[in-house]
Each structure stands twice: as structure tokens, then as C-alpha cells.
């Protein structure tokens, strides 16, 4: 039992990371219809930012974290300005910005790859390495920190979309761009804001996971795939879907590795089977958008 609870904490923490990346996709895809695979590279940029500020320059953790997230907001905004807005304004098909963003993915990775040494680089933990126990439930400090921060982010996002006028205007754009524009909602501002928010959330995911997996130039694509799978499972309709998708994916992965009587190499295929099953049976994901 203790074994299982220990695994549950670890899987929840991994699921939260997947959920954050899925949320980053969702923030951009809802109002714009653009799927941005560069979210993984954004997570990587934040991880390298964490390495620089927190490890090399030894900033206090939360000051460094705030600086990195502010940087990510700028990165998202600039990306939207350079790679998305010119194409949208020319009225090009939705595929054009998606391809342009793939270009951003490669450029970002290569910039990091040539600017830093090739080895994985350390990113410090906010509370060091240690273990927290509540009765039978035990896990590392970092696992609990990831879970707490992620829940706060999802609660905040949910509140934003459900309870604020700004969030409502995002929903309106998601439901019908033309009608929203006619109602006086500034479409390009919504798009810019969704990219900034997406970059900040992806960056947060990267920063939270990097003390465990280190900052390295190839870390982006696996995160982008895991987040995408979580998004497909949870559906793009509702914010909670991203978190539920992430948790389901992480539990499926880790329970298979731990308990399924198959060679552990095969366990890697389980998330993909999961992805295929969802695409066939429930292509819109678990949660449907509200009418």
C-alpha cells in the first residue's frame, strides 16, 4: 500500500507537469485554433533561464522564478508578433502559423544548443532534496511543490475564464471569432495574451520539472509530446481537461511500469496506445466544451 501511495505522489507530480504543458497548448488553441508544438521548447528556455539565474547567479528561488516567468511572457508575446500575427493578418490558412511555429521550435532549440555546453545542466530545487511524509503518503519535496503550484495555476486559470470579464471575452472568441469581433473584442489582443499566457504556463512546467530532469537542449520534444497526449485525452474544451488528461496519462504510464507483468521496454508503448484509443473512441477528449 505504501508502495502504491509513494507511486501515486510521483505519478501525480508527473501528471501535473504534463497537465501544465497541455494547458499551455489549450490556452493558445482555444481562442485561435493554432496548435503550437513549440511549447516544449518554451519549457526548455525556462529551464535554461532557471539554470542561469538560480544556479549560476544564485538568485533566491522565487525571485528567479518570477524573472523567468516574466521572460516567458515576453517570449510568448514576441513569438506571436513575429511568427503568428503577420500570417493571420494576411488571412492565411490556420496551417501557416502552425508551420511557422514549428520553425520557431527548431530555431529556439538551435539557439540554446549553440549558446550552452552540450551536457545537461543543473537547476536547483526550491526546498532542496528531501522527503515529506503524511502518514502513509510520502514523496519528495519537489513532488509536493509541483502539485501545489499546478493546482494553484489551474484554479487561477479556471477562475479567470469563468469569473472575469476578460476571461469571458476569451471564451467568446473561442466560440465564434467573427461574432466576438463584432461585439468589440480586440482579437489581436486576445491572441497576444493567449500566447503570452501559454508561454508562461509552459515555462512554469519546464522550470518545475528541470530540477529533476536537468536543463538540456533535447528536453523540449518529449515534453511537447507528453503534453499533447494529455491534451488529446482531456480534450481542448475545458481547462480542467488538461489536468485530468495529464494525470490519467502519468498514472497509466507509471502503473504499467510498476505493476504490469510485461518487460519495462514495452511499457513505453502504453501512452501511445492510450492516445490511439482516445483518438478513435473519443476524439474530442474526455471533457466536452460547455454549450
Amino acid at each position: 500500500m505504501q508502495d502504491f501511495l509513494e507511486l501515486a505522489v510521483s505519478a501525480t507530480a508527473s501528471g501535473c507537469i504534463y497537465g501544465l504543458i497541455a494547458l499551455a497548448y489549450l490556452l493558445m488553441i482555444r481562442p485561435t485554433g493554432i496548435i503550437n508544438f513549440a511549447v516544449g521548447e518554451w519549457a526548455m528556455v525556462a529551464a535554461f533561464g532557471g539554470h542561469l539565474l538560480l544556479y549560476r547567479y544564485e538568485w533566491p528561488y522565487f525571485a528567479g522564478m518570477a524573472a523567468v516567468l516574466a521572460l516567458m511572457v515576453v517570449v510568448g508575446w514576441v513569438t506571436e508578433r513575429i511568427a503568428v500575427r503577420p500570417l493571420v493578418e494576411k488571412g492565411s490558412a490556420v496551417l501557416a502559423p502552425i508551420l511557422a511555429l514549428l520553425g520557431v521550435l527548431v530555431i529556439t532549440r538551435e539557439i540554446i544548443s549553440v549558446s550552452f555546453p552540450p551536457d545537461p545542466l543543473p537547476v536547483p530545487f526550491p526546498f532542496g532534496i528531501g522527503r515529506l511524509e503524511f502518514g502513509l503518503v510520502g514523496g519528495s519535496y519537489q513532488s509536493f511543490f509541483i502539485i501545489a503550484v499546478t493546482l494553484a495555476v489551474f484554479a487561477g486559470t479556471w477562475f479567470f475564464f469563468e469569473k472575469t470579464l476578460w476571461g469571458r471575452s476569451f471564451e467568446a472568441v473561442a466560440l465564434n471569432r467573427r461574432a466576438a469581433a463584432l461585439m468589440g473584442i480586440n482579437l489581436s489582443r486576445v491572441t497576444a495574451f493567449s500566447f503570452s499566457g501559454g508561454a508562461a504556463v509552459a515555462g512554469l512546467g519546464g522550470l518545475l520539472v528541470s530540477p529533476n530532469i536537468s536543463a538540456h537542449y533535447l528536453m523540449g520534444v518529449p515534453l511537447a509530446i507528453q503534453g499533447f497526449t494529455a491534451l488529446v485525452i482531456g480534450g481542448v474544451g475545458r481547462v480542467e481537461g488538461a489536468l485530468i488528461g495529464g494525470l490519467l496519462l502519468a498514472f497509466a504510464e507509471q502503473l504499467t511500469i510498476r505493476y504490469a507483468p510485461i518487460p519495462s521496454g514495452f511499457a513505453q508503448g502504453v501512452p501511445l496506445l492510450f492516445l490511439m484509443a482516445f483518438l478513435i473512441v473519443r476524439p474530442a477528449g474526455l471533457l466536452r466544451a460547455r454549450a
Binding site: 505519478a11 508527473s14 507537469i17 538551435e110 545537461p120 545542466l121 529533476n212 519495462s264 513505453q268
Partner: protein, 375 residues
């Protein structure tokens, strides 16, 4: 006047001849998965070539390196080998990933151009293709396993765990370890894989803990995933000893896995107390201002072995270089004290099976040599 013109032509052609370089191709990886290993190795090659040129070159000619980047991708590497052959290289030095090196052999075999890798460890490189133009001087995967096992044998383990990652090389090393462990009569009670890009190794480590082994053998080569394994090991508070592949000989673990590696034993092909190593470390520091590591030594030995073969061949004729290379007998930076590279009985893997050592991490640094060779 005509005589002067003739003389001028003669002198010019003479000076051109004396300046003509010996071209050596290097295929490395600057952006792909093997970059952390290929870059320092390539720096070692460049340093070695500079040193040779400073001392007057080979056969009175300077060495010119033509460096290409195959990103460790087999689909690109053969094309680059062809490009280098067309540019007139007399030798190709391969320092990216084993599968990419393997693919280059299709070109060097056909174009009859000598090729060697000083660091790739896959056993199949000299056994799958009967290519007399190819040599491998890095320690083989099977030698690593056997050396690690020779050291572990004294401990008399009966039940062991094996963990690796899903990279090509990680799988190849795990396969070699599996064979060696079973041959030594140890039962593998848990056999786990951590996938590239995983965010935790807790489930694998829990499974290993449940199987209750006396020791764990680590065959993975992906640094970030190995750090995950060490973190899970520490967080779950397990105590069995870890015996690792030579991936842990990369010094990056001293910083990225600080506090996690102490007590781990690992295979290496590098003895910091060896005279050749001390000389190399000092010379490298003097020339570049930077500290060297074992990976630089692989590249340095590679270019030195090639220069040695060309010198003994007495010409840049590829067939003569091939014959000279096969007769190599050379002591380099890598390998235990007294080890010499050679290719006996027509073999083309030249790292002495008794040339590896087992070292241990102490105080977050790569520490002393605990064991040498296969006995």
C-alpha cells in the same frame, strides 16, 4: 628568359608540393544526441592535429582536418563520408554515434578509404561487416561489462538488477551486460528501462526495490535519465551498491548529479595516475587554457594513431596506410597503465580487453582506480 620561366615554374610547383597537406576527415556530432561526447572528442582531435603540425607534421606535411557534422544520424553520415572521400581525405575519423559510424563503412569499404573510430563502443562495428578498411580502438561494450563484472565477482552477488535507457547505445550496453551477468551465474531479478524524456524513474526503482537485489548494474548512457535514476535511488532510500557503465566516466555527473553519485563504481578507460595522461592533461591545459577529460583523450589517441600509421606507411597511399594501421602497436592516453593499442590476428578492434579500469566516485569527484582488467 625561358630558363628563368622554367625555374619559376619548378620552384612554384615545388613550394606547392611541400605545402600540400594530408587531409583527414572527421565526422562528428555538433547538434544531435551524441554531442556531449562528440564535442570533447573532436576538441581532442583538433588539439592532437595542432600538436602534430607544431612538431613538423607527418612525412614533412601538415595535417588538415576536414570536419563534418552528421548529427549522429545514419541517414546523413554515409553521404558525408562520400563527400570527404571526394575531397581527397586519406583517413576518416568517426566520433559520432555507433550506428552512424556503421553506415559510413558502406562508403569506406567501397571507396577503399581507411576509417577508424577511437570511441564508439558497439561490438558489431567490426563484426557485422568484413571491412578491412575499418578499425575501432574504443573499449568494446562487452569489455566494459566483463571488466565491471570482474570487479563485482569478488563480492559474490547472486541476485542483481539491471537498468538502462531506451537509446540505441543504452540498449546495446544492456545486452552486453545481460550476457555477461548470466554467464557469471548471477540472476537478473529486475530488468528495467527508463525512456528518454521521462520525468521520473520512481516506478522502475520501486520495482527493483521490490525484487530485492544485492546490487544494481546501470547500462544507461543518457545523462539526464541517469540522474533521474540516482535521484529515485536516493529518494526511495535503497542501499544496494550501483555498478555503472562507462557513461559515468563523463565528468558532467560531478556537477549535475552532485550529492547523488558518491560510492558508485564505474568502468573507465582512463587512469589519472598514468604518465601519458598526466603529460596530456598538462599539454592540453597549456595549449588551450582548459581542463581536459577522458573524452578528449579518445579524440587525441585517434588522430595520433592515424598519424602513427601514416608515418610507418611512409606515404599517403591508402593501401599502405591500411597495412601499417593493421600493424599498430601504440601506447596512448586511454587505457590502463602499460596498455598498448594493437590489432592481433587480423582483428580490427584494438583496445586491449585488459585495458579498462573500475573507479569510484568520492566526494562528488571521480576518484581512484579500484580494479584493472578482466582478472
Amino acid at each position: 628568359m625561358r630558363f628563368l620561366g622554367f625555374l619559376a615554374c619548378f620552384l612554384l610547383s615545388g613550394s606547392v608540393l611541400s605545402q600540400e597537406t594530408i587531409k583527414i576527415g572527421v565526422i562528428t556530432d555538433r547538434v544531435g544526441v551524441s554531442k556531449p561526447y562528440s564535442e570533447p572528442a573532436t576538441e581532442g582531435v583538433v588539439f592532437g592535429a595542432d600538436e602534430i603540425n607544431r612538431k613538423g607534421g607527418v612525412l614533412g606535411r601538415k595535417i588538415e582536418l576536414l570536419i563534418e557534422d552528421d548529427q549522429s544520424r545514419p541517414d546523413i553520415s554515409a553521404t558525408l563520408a562520400r563527400k570527404l572521400v571526394d575531397q581527397g581525405v586519406v583517413f576518416i575519423l568517426s566520433v559520432s554515434l555507433s550506428p552512424a559510424t556503421q553506415q559510413q563503412q558502406t562508403v569506406t569499404m567501397e571507396a577503399k578509404t581507411p576509417q577508424m573510430t577511437p570511441m564508439n563502443s558497439a561490438d558489431y562495428l567490426t563484426t557485422q561487416l568484413n571491412n578491412p578498411w575499418f578499425w575501432q580502438t574504443g573499449p568494446l561494450g562487452s569489455t566494459q561489462g566483463a571488466t565491471l563484472l570482474a570487479h563485482a565477482k569478488a563480492k559474490n552477488f547472486k541476485r542483481v538488477a539491471l537498468i538502462t535507457d531506451n537509446s540505441d547505445l543504452g540498449q546495446a550496453i544492456a545486452k552486453a551486460f545481460r550476457g555477461a551477468l548470466e554467464k557469471a551465474g548471477m540472476q537478473i531479478v529486475a530488468d528495467e528501462v527508463v525512456a528518454r524524456g521521462a520525468t521520473t524513474a520512481t516506478p522502475q526503482m520501486q520495482k527493483i526495490r521490490a525484487a530485492n537485489p544485492e546490487a544494481m548494474f546501470l547500462a544507461g548512457v543518457l545523462t539526464a535519465e541517469n540522474v533521474l535514476i540516482f535521484r529515485a535511488y536516493k529518494e526511495l532510500g535503497v542501499k544496494f551498491p550501483i555498478h555503472s557503465s562507462y557513461n559515468l566516466s563523463v565528468p558532467i555527473y560531478e556537477t549535475v548529479a552532485k550529492g547523488l553519485v558518491n560510492g558508485i563504481t564505474f568502468v573507465d578507460a582512463y587512469d589519472p595516475d598514468k604518465p601519458e595522461v598526466k603529460a596530456f592533461v598538462a599539454a592540453y591545459k597549456k595549449a588551450t587554457g582548459k581542463d581536459s577529460q577522458n573524452l578528449h583523450g579518445y579524440g587525441y589517441d585517434g588522430i595520433m594513431l592515424i598519424a602513427d600509421a601514416i608515418r610507418r606507411a611512409g606515404s599517403t597511399d591508402k593501401e599502405k596506410i591500411r597495412e601499417a594501421m593493421q600493424k599498430t602497436n601504440y601506447a596512448g592516453v586511454m587505457g590502463a597503465k602499460g596498455m598498448r593499442y594493437s590489432f592481433p590476428e587480423g582483428k580490427r578492434a584494438g583496445f586491449d580487453p585488459n585495458g579498462m579500469v573500475v573507479r569510484v566516485y568520492e566526494h562528488d569527484r571521480q576518484g581512484r582506480v579500484l580494479h584493472v582488467g578482466l582478472k
